[in-house]
């Protein structure tokens, strides 16, 4: 069996069997002051509204797939993640759970993704301090910082969760932000089998008034699944 073929199989099985493939070598000498500044800048954050473009570069696809969407966040923990225009998938989350809605299928799943951890965006929100006022110390308890590079006001952070179950199958989570304003620029999930999912934000508006209805959804006529914990 060739090495290439073995790697392919490893990738497949990491997905099918939930394998734990990562090995982490964190750099304790990385200067994290830009990250600290980013957290401090977010302390006064009340809301975010932003467009995004998600690029899915899978090893199994010849060319990446791009999807547009919109994101709303209201402090302390409510968010709406809307994929596609018109939306194909909507995720509305709060501290106590997540609803995944498929409007075209008239189907919703309550609690499903947040409990299984398959919706990493929410985890990223938590890690990056959107859910609650996070400090650098708390962040370091949960994350290995692989590297932090600064270019002008743009900071590029590469990290991995310390929790092996959260880091399962991941090579790194990359996060770009503005060192001065603390504003998010993009984040990327890179898997060990070589695929990546990159989300770039644009038209970011912070602390604007967000209508509370954004975080509600009328599920009448929908089939709703409640995932067992």
């Amino acid at each position: 069996m060739s090495t290439t073929r073995t790697i392919k199989w490893a990738a497949i099985l990491a997905l099918f069997l939930g394998c734990q493939l990562h090995k982490v070598c964190g750099d304790s000498t990385v200067d994290l002051s830009p990250l600290k500044a980013c957290f401090e800048a977010q302390h006064d954050l009340k809301s975010i509204s932003a467009d995004f473009t998600q690029t899915r570069a899978l090893k199994t696809l010849k060319s990446p797939i791009s999807v547009k969407g919109h994101f709303w966040f209201a402090s302390p923990d409510r968010f709406r993640w809307q994929l596609g225009d018109p939306p194909k998938t909507i995720i509305i989350g709060a501290k106590d759970g997540t609803i995944v809605i498929h409007p075209s299928l008239k189907h919703a799943e309550i609690g499903a993704l947040s409990t299984s951890g398959s919706f990493p965006t929410q985890k990223v929100f938590e890690m990056m301090g959107l859910s609650g006022k996070r400090t650098l110390e708390e962040f370091q308890k949960r994350m290995h910082v692989l590297s932090l590079k600064t270019s002008g006001t743009r900071c590029h952070l590469e990290m991995l969760p310390k929790d092996p179950s959260a880091a399962r199958g991941l090579s790194s989570i990359n996060f770009d932000f503005d060192c001065v304003t603390g504003q998010w620029l993009d984040f990327e999930i890179v898997t060990r089998e070589g695929s990546s999912i990159r989300t770039e934000f644009n038209n970011v508006r912070t602390n604007s008034v967000i209508n509370g209805e954004v975080f509600d959804y009328d599920l009448r006529g929908f089939t709703v699944n409640h995932e067992k914990k």
């Binding site: 490893a10 997905l15 194909k88």
Partner: protein, 792 residues
């Protein structure tokens, strides 16, 4: 003279050969289920589970580290080192086999596919057909585009033809935070170590374990790292060596106590030396007999040595006592003692052999071993010790009485003893009356060693990985694959119903992993035909925007199916990876077909669930349920055997005493002893369990002798209770204290059950001796004053 000496040499030589042959065959069985009635469904099911799924040659090494990286690297280092020890280790696994050799999983995935309902395979065939293949791929692309879960989009990328979409709900593909190799935080890791070859006995297991432990400890010499060793080899080594230690230490403790008692009574060294030597010979001969005629010693059987020494010494006392006043030849001494010893050893052995009436194999074994030992003891004492005692008596010239004779002849001592005995009885009955009878504990923990490193490591493993102790194991057996499948399908209906009505919270059924020959026969030709279309499928895949990587799984699975085209049905996967997955789920050797699943019952529904699902070849078992079942059945069983035993004793006594009043006194004495024992247990915080109940039977077999001896002496002395006590006081005292020493020495045994048995028996014997010696004569006197003398 020369001929006589030759005979002795021959006897010694034969004895030595017999002992060597017997001891070399001794082996221990640590399975506590071997002690329990095999007809109980929980015992039967758990035995099947342990025999087939407990991994007899697999040691579990646990690593606890301050951080996940250290734990991971240590596990890897240990596994590599252990794998290099070819003479000791067949394999050491620190991660799922498919992680090191991912391609090996394709066989198992194909096996799962082959067992899918025909309808699903037809759907797959349809999705892969020339007209639908492109549509299927476009649908997959749409799904990848709309999915928000990275895991799902990647998974779909590797299964573009949606072959494995039907695998959802199997439990196999679901992500879980931990695994059988690592805790969710990664700080706790597990290495599974398989021995190079099966162990032939416990000594080999112990030696192997020590080697593995020292190798691991040498490799991991760092602060903050904790290693643990558990699994079957660890338990076998620990419990077996513990049993051996218990057996030897309790036997020596008994010998020491007996020596002390003899010294206190007679103050003579030479007869004591010979007596101890005889007891050791009896012990070795009995143990050799057990090794030759019994398969394996259970934990209860291991306690036999001290019990048997405590009983056999009675014959030695008797012979020695007689030799002091005997003036005839050795033959006449032997003949004189024979009549008494045959009677007492015969009844004791019969009482112990009667334990075979019980359906408890452990108790039967103990009964057989003590019964054998008592017979051996009688033969050795009569054949060897009687000539020695006679010779010693003749050489000393004068009869040497006991130092304690004056005590049992003293009226003051008798009155003092009566008052003390009465006080103790009142105290114990008061405790029983006011504090209630002792509680009960039939849990599996009562069978385990008092201190167990393996158990601690296992408990830690449960706490760090998935804890399945509250769950029930579903064991389904059958004579062949088809019968197991049929039973699995039947039980599946019950499981579905249990999930619907809420009596079960979660079910992991082995049904999807059990091969269905009919489905395989129907599905295989379809999958083989699809394998011939691989070039077309690959071209379609590429035309629709997928890369070669997306085709690896499809290609491998269809090729594997094609390789099975000439196989016999049912097809079982055979690669090491498949075997690793199936090792805790299925067994399919000739005549031994078993499937294992897990059922989590809702609180309070366990018993009802077991009753509703259990049937022929279907067992829903757990250690907790075993305790419940034992609590329901064991007391009944023991009472049944005890009543049988008591009836036998009463029958013999009726013939010997020929007096209703004497029989009544015997029954009342026995009842009082048992009531006082219950009171003493309450006072000491002891609980009824398997071993205490077994102790009651032993007590009936041995302790009742004291009251019987006194009642017989009472008759012989024409209703003179003081005379009866003077005649037998010392003998009862010696027998009682020796037997109590034998049982009592077990109180320090490493095995909690054996210790409980020892404590209860010693307590019961002392109570029995005290009541028989001090209260029974008084009762006899009072009754004889009121009416005719007891007996005729």
């Amino acid at each position: 003279m020369k001929k006589n000496r030759l005979g002795w040499v021959l006897i010694l030589l034969l004895s030595a050969i017999y002992i060597a042959a017997g001891l070399s065959r001794i082996s221990f069985n640590i399975d506590i289920l071997r002690l329990l009635p095999t007809h109980l469904p929980q015992v039967e099911g758990l035995s099947l589970f342990l025999k087939n799924f407990a991994q007899q040659d697999e040691l579990i090494v646990t690593i606890e580290a301050p951080d996940a990286d250290t734990a991971g690297s240590t596990a890897e280092k240990l596994a590599v080192m252990l794998r290099s020890q070819k003479g000791l280790v067949k394999n050491a696994v620190e991660e799922s086999p498919w992680e090191t050799n991912p391609a090996s999983i394709s066989e198992f995935l194909t096996f799962l596919l082959l067992n899918q309902p025909e309808q699903k395979i037809h759907e797959i065939q349809q999705r892969l057909s020339p007209s639908q293949a492109s549509v299927t791929l476009q649908q997959t692309l749409d799904d990848i585009q709309s999915s928000e879960s990275p895991a799902e989009m990647l998974r779909k990328g590797y299964d573009p033809f949606r072959i494995f979409s039907s695998f959802s709900g199997l439990g196999f593909t679901e992500e879980s935070p931990g695994s059988e190799f690592s805790s969710s935080d990664g700080k706790f890791r597990v290495v599974y170590v398989q021995a190079a070859k099966p162990f032939s006995n416990y000594k080999q297991t112990d030696e192997w374990l020590h080697q593995i432990k020292s190798l691991c400890s040498a490799q991991v010499a760092r602060d903050g790292l904790t290693l643990g060793f558990t699994g079957e080899p660890a338990f076998v080594a620990e419990i077996s060596t513990g049993m051996q230690r218990d057996m030897i230490s309790s036997a020596f403790a008994t010998l020491a106590l007996i020596s002390l008692i003899f010294w206190l009574c007679y103050g003579r060294f030479t007869p004591l030396f010979w007596l101890v030597l005889m007891l050791q010979l009896i012990f070795l001969l009995s143990l050799a007999t057990a090794g030759l005629f019994l398969n394996e010693l259970t934990v209860v059987g291991a306690g036999f040595a001290s019990v048997m020494i405590g009983l056999s010494v009675d014959y030695g006392y008797f012979i020695y006592q007689r030799s002091q006043t005997h003036s005839g030849t050795v033959r006449s001494l032997q003949w004189h003692c024979l009549q008494n010893i045959v009677w007492t050893s015969g009844t004791t052995a019969a009482a112990f052999f009667a334990l075979n009436l019980s359906s408890l194999p452990g108790l039967s074994q103990l009964g057989n071993m003590v019964g054998l030992g008592v017979c051996v003891g009688a033969i050795v004492m009569l054949g060897l010790f009687a000539p020695i005692a006679s010779g010693l008596s003749k050489s000393s010239g004068t009869a040497m009485g006991s130092r304690l004779d004056f005590l049992f002849a003293s009226g003051r001592f008798a009155r003092f003893g009566e008052l003390i005995a009465l006080g103790v009885v009142v105290l114990l009955l008061g405790a029983l009356l006011f504090q209630g009878p002792p509680g009960s504990d039939f849990s599996a923990s009562t069978f385990r060693p008092r201190k167990s490193e393996s158990q601690s490591a296992l408990e830690h493993l449960y706490s760090r990985l998935q804890d399945d102790r509250g769950m029930l194991s579903l064991v389904v057996s059958g004579k062949d694959d088809g019968e197991v499948l049929l039973r699995l399908r039947n039980v599946q209906r019950g499981l579905d119903e249990a999930l619907r009505n809420g009596s079960a919270k979660h079910v992991l059924s082995p049904l999807p992993l059990w091969p269905d020959a009919q489905r395989q026969k129907a599905n295989l030709p379809i999958l083989c035909a699809l394998s011939h279309e691989l070039p077309r499928l690959k071209a379609t895949l590429k035309d629709n925007g997928f890369t070669d990587d997306a085709f690896v799984l499809t290609e491998s699975v269809l090729n594997r199916a094609n390789s099975w085209r000439n196989s016999r049905f049912p097809i079982w996967p055979v690669t090491p990876t498949s075997e690793w997955i199936l090792r805790r789920v299925a067994r399919h050797h000739e005549g031994n077909h078993l499937a294992l699943g897990i059922v989590e019952p809702s609180p309070g529904c366990e018993e009802a669930l077991i009753k509703s699902l259990q049937g022929e070849g279907v067992y829903l078992v757990s250690w907790g349920s075993l305790g419940t079942e034992l609590k329901q059945t064991l007391p009944r069983e023991i009472i049944k055997v005890a009543l049988g035993l008591l009836a036998g004793i009463l029958l013999i006594l009726a013939a010997a005493l020929r007096s209703f009043r004497a029989l009544l006194l015997f029954v009342l004495t026995t009842a009082l002893v048992l009531a006082c024992l219950a009171g003493a247990m309450t006072l000491l915080g002891m609980k009824w369990g398997f071993f205490n109940l077994a102790a009651v039977l032993l007590l009936l077999g041995t302790g009742t002798d004291y009251s019987i001896l006194l009642l017989l002496a009472f008759q012989r002395n024409g209703g003179d209770a003081v005379g009866a006590r003077r005649e037998l006081g010392l003998v009862i005292f010696l027998c009682c204290t020796s037997a109590a020493a034998g049982f009592g020495s077990l109180a320090w045994a490493g095995n909690m059950g054996l210790a409980t048995l020892g404590k209860t028996c010693a307590l019961g014997l002392l109570i029995d001796g005290m009541i028989s010696l001090f209260l029974l004569p008084r009762a006899c006197s009072m009754l004889s004053r009121k009416s005719q003398p007891v007996g005729s």
